[in-house]
């Protein structure tokens, strides 16, 4: 094992983490994209060195997303959406640096917890994961969807916005590779060429969060220079670890949720942070503070999405099945070397397995050190005058949208359409957060719901399939009741997320 740990191996982890953070921090660029770009390099690097680079990119890419989510209110990656809910309000209060430090510590803990679980329990958890059929996966997605109500300032409008998100996500072909019938639906006549595969997630995301915010600011008038009250780098806003006092349960629970969601193939990384955030709000003594700069929200979101990193490797290395879109790319590193991953992989390749665990550990440490040290420089972003910052963000959004599917111009139009849509949302008093959650989770919900009915032929299967289904129903009902109670309590305080 120790002969694998060479200076090159270590440099690739650290270098990969650094590049990953940059990819994650640029709106529209993701960990998946970073891994895709660097994948061909791994053939010449060899398996262990190649994996060192890719795992660094993976950890860095997931973590880097918190920077724009907190400082600009634009999620760098889809799994950072919930970080914007409290991170950005905290930054607007002049506590951007504090929010970043909270996010980085939570990311580090989430990454370590999931790594620990991966290292000790991978094969056992994989056996548990296969007990989740279409029915249980639908119920998990349904559980995550219930968060829409909790995230809305008006429950009815929130649910309507979420359902609208689901509806728009279903435009396009019912993809055969996801279990669909390959038929196009909901596509306006004459637009089949562009909408055949529907709207891509990332352009929609950066349109709604990035472009819409810029349009909103432009409408108000963008002053030259910056508002000094908004910018407090250091000073009073300095971070103290005491913010984590009373948050240990939240930290461990959210890391666990992230890891668990990662273990389930096909549920999706974004669901991890959404579920973690939703639980943190439900179990909080002060749920009304969520969405207004509550540190617990950042902790839940960031430990949840970094918890995913180790979790998603469980089914990959124990079943040969990737847990999320980025680990689906990681399989390429193995196949390019002619190595098959499956249930015997860990036992047959102990050196590679140990190298991966070690690489993940170093990547998490490198991520923590680099981001923690560089935080003051990140935070300086808010000191850039908006008349310079906004055009730069806009340019990055357009580049990100154009490159996400290897150069499809329609993705740029999608960005613009949803940017204007997001601006109109505010005018129409619709809610962006439930909309985007519906948009992200809608396609999975559809596939698992339809497949459950196709497979078992009755709606009662959702209640009778297994004890796991029963537990999930308890959680769903708890979440809905919690939202109703919260909504009643919040009446008269319509300033939620």
């Amino acid at each position: 094992m120790f002969e694998i740990i060479t200076p090159l191996f270590l440099s690739l982890i650290v270098g990969g983490t650094f590049i990953g953070i940059i990819f994650g921090a640029i709106p529209g660029m993701t960990a998946t994209m970073a891994v895709a770009v660097c994948l061909p390099l791994t053939y010449s690097l060899g398996l262990e060195n190649g994996l060192a680079l890719l795992l660094g990119l993976y950890v860095g890419g997931i973590s880097g997303g918190l920077v724009p989510a907190i400082l600009l209110g634009i999620p760098g990656t889809p799994s950072s959406i919930t970080t914007t809910f409290d991170g950005y309000p905290l930054a607007q209060k002049g506590e951007g640096e504090k929010a970043l430090r909270i996010g980085i510590v939570a990311s580090f803990v989430g990454g370590l917890v999931s790594l620990f679980v991966l290292w000790l329990f991978a094969p056992t958890l994989a056996d548990f994961a296969i007990k989740f059929s279409y029915v249980e996966k639908f119920l998990i997605i349904f559980f995550a969807l219930t968060v829409m109500a909790a995230l809305s300032s008006d429950m009815l409008i929130g649910i309507f916005s979420g359902v609208l998100g689901i509806f728009i996500a279903l435009i396009g072909t019912y993809d055969i590779s996801s279990g669909g019938n390959g038929k196009m639906r909901l596509i306006p006549p004459g637009t089949e060429y562009w909408l055949e595969t529907g709207f891509s997630l990332l352009p929609v995301l950066i349109g709604l969060f990035g472009l819409a915010a810029i349009l909103e600011q432009a409408e108000l008038g963008v002053p030259r220079g910056f508002n000094k009250d908004e910018v407090k780098v250091g000073g009073k806003s300095t971070f103290s670890f005491s913010v984590f006092r009373g948050q240990i349960v939240n930290l461990v629970r959210s890391s666990g949720i992230g890891t668990f969601v990662g273990i389930l193939p096909g549920v999706g990384g974004s669901a991890a942070s959404i579920l973690a955030y939703s639980n943190a709000k439900t179990f909080s003594r002060h749920p009304e503070t969520f969405g207004k700069g509550e540190p617990a929200g950042i902790i839940a979101s960031e430990s949840g999405n970094n918890g995913l990193t180790g979790g998603a490797l469980v089914p990959l290395l124990s079943l040969g099945i990737p847990g999320d879109s980025t680990t689906a790319l990681l399989i390429g590193a193995f196949t390019l070397q002619g190595i098959q991953v499956g249930p015997l992989f860990i036992g047959n390749n102990p050196d590679t397995w140990n190298a991966m665990i070690f690489a993940m550990l170093i990547a998490n440490i490198a991520m923590f050190v680099m981001m923690y040290v560089a935080i003051r420089y990140f935070a300086l972003v808010v000191t850039i005058p908006k008349h310079i910052l906004f055009p730069v963000i806009l340019m990055m959004c357009v580049i990100g949208a154009y490159t996400i599917n290897y150069g499809i111009m329609f993705d740029v139009w999608t960005l613009l359409i949803f940017g204007i849509g997001g601006w109109l949302f505010v005018k129409l008093r619709l809610e962006v957060a439930p909309f985007i959650i519906g948009f992200i989770l809608g396609p999975s919900a559809e596939v698992y719901f339809v497949k459950s009915l196709e497979s078992f032929g009755t709606l009662s299967i959702f209640f009778t399939k297994s004890w796991i289904a029963m537990v999930l129903w308890v959680l769903i009902i708890g979440s809905i009741l919690g939202s109703v109670v919260l909504s009643r309590r919040a009446k008269g305080q319509p300033d939620g997320v």
């Binding site: 590779s177 060429y193 595969t197 098959q340």
Partner: protein, 349 residues
């Protein structure tokens, strides 16, 4: 006037000289080439095979070739847009099977695109049953169907995954007309979904591959994830070229037991149905034929050197280079065979 005529002459001559390399360049692959593939996965056989070919071609021709895993629909669109040779495509039999099965987004590739050389075969297309299944062989499965027992087969409809299922139904019909109705499809998505369908007890047989499923056939007795091969669709002549060590803990001789002629799924009562998943180039129909010649020539030289075959075999591919003309004739013949099988069972699957 004389000056003007001279000037004009000089200008025309200069233009002609300058145009020469441009014209010559138009007949060659550009310096930067995008190779799109019909799969979105970078972990699958299409990406793996395309990366090997792209590497070899890049090195041989001294150009850059970037493989983009964009998926079938986007790849066809990219190919439609570009006749300069900047975008080329590698895909497999799915490109015409998708059309035969009537999948949306699949035009007849023989009519719409220029068919390029074949480069390799993946002999891994396979069908598996749970380790504790009562079915020991394809014979058992077809007999069960004949006896009125329903056999559920998990596939991804509309292509390579379905062609073996169609062949099973066809074989059942040949053995005992009407029994094909007892072989029913469980439409799933990815390999993960097909495995899950087996573990959930929703499928009696699943489509898989030697590469993705071999490790599941080696699990200890009693492991609920355990599987057994019952059929490998590759031609015996193809599988014989696989490394002797086979894949994982299953050597080539053991794999051959699941392929024709040891495992027989009849095509017409006399011949066995076989299917090799072959990878080949597709080009824009309007692309300069000289570029296709250049690729044919380069690949002829690359395969003559022999290094690419070692790399392909190490990844469990069977090298199978055929220049464009031969490849097209070969693939059209294949298409005609499978077209008959699909026509025989159409409306019943």
């Amino acid at each position: 006037m004389t000056f003007t005529r001279r000037t004009l002459l000089a200008a025309v001559s200069t233009a002609a000289i300058l145009a020469q390399p441009i014209a010559a360049a138009a007949q060659e692959l550009p310096r930067n080439v995008r190779m799109v593939i019909g799969s979105k996965s970078t972990g699958g056989d299409t990406y793996q095979n395309s990366a090997i070919v792209a590497d070899a071609l890049s090195e041989h021709l001294g150009i850059n070739i970037k493989v983009d895993a964009v998926g079938a629909s986007a790849a066809f669109k990219a190919l439609d847009r570009d006749s300069r040779g900047t975008t080329i495509m590698i895909f497999h039999d799915q490109s015409y099977l998708g059309h035969l099965y009537g999948r949306e987004g699949y035009d007849d590739p023989f009519a719409t695109y220029a068919i390029g050389p074949t480069v390799a075969i993946n002999p891994g297309n396979a069908y598996l049953v749970p380790a504790d299944s009562p079915y020991q062989s394809m014979e058992d499965i077809l007999t069960a169907a004949e006896n009125g027992e329903q056999v559920r087969v998990a596939i991804q409809p509309g292509g390579v995954s379905e062609i073996g299922f169609s062949a099973m139904k066809n074989a059942a019909a040949v053995r005992s007309p009407g029994s094909e109705a007892n072989i029913v499809a469980v439409n799933t998505g990815s390999q993960s979904d097909k495995n899950q369908a087996m573990w959930d007890g929703l499928a009696d047989v699943i489509n898989g591959s030697i590469q993705a499923n071999e490790q599941f056939t080696q699990l200890e007795e009693g492991d609920e994830k355990g599987m057994r091969f019952v059929w490998i669709t590759a031609r015996p002549a193809t599988l014989e070229q696989a490394p002797e060590a086979g894949m994982g803990d299953t050597d080539r001789a053991a794999l051959m037991q699941y392929a024709s002629p040891e495992t027989s799924v009849t095509l017409d009562g006399s011949e066995d149905f076989t299917f090799d998943k072959e990878f080949f180039f597709l080009f824009n129909k309007e692309m300069d034929p000289a570029i296709i010649d250049q690729i044919d020539t380069a690949l002829t030289e690359i395969f003559a050197e022999g290094a690419i075959q070692d790399r392909q075999k190490a990844s469990f591919f069977i090298p199978n280079f055929l220049p464009s003309d031969e490849a097209k004739a070969h693939l059209e013949q294949k298409r005609d065979t499978y077209s008959k099988v699909i026509a025989e069972i159409s409306g019943e699957s």
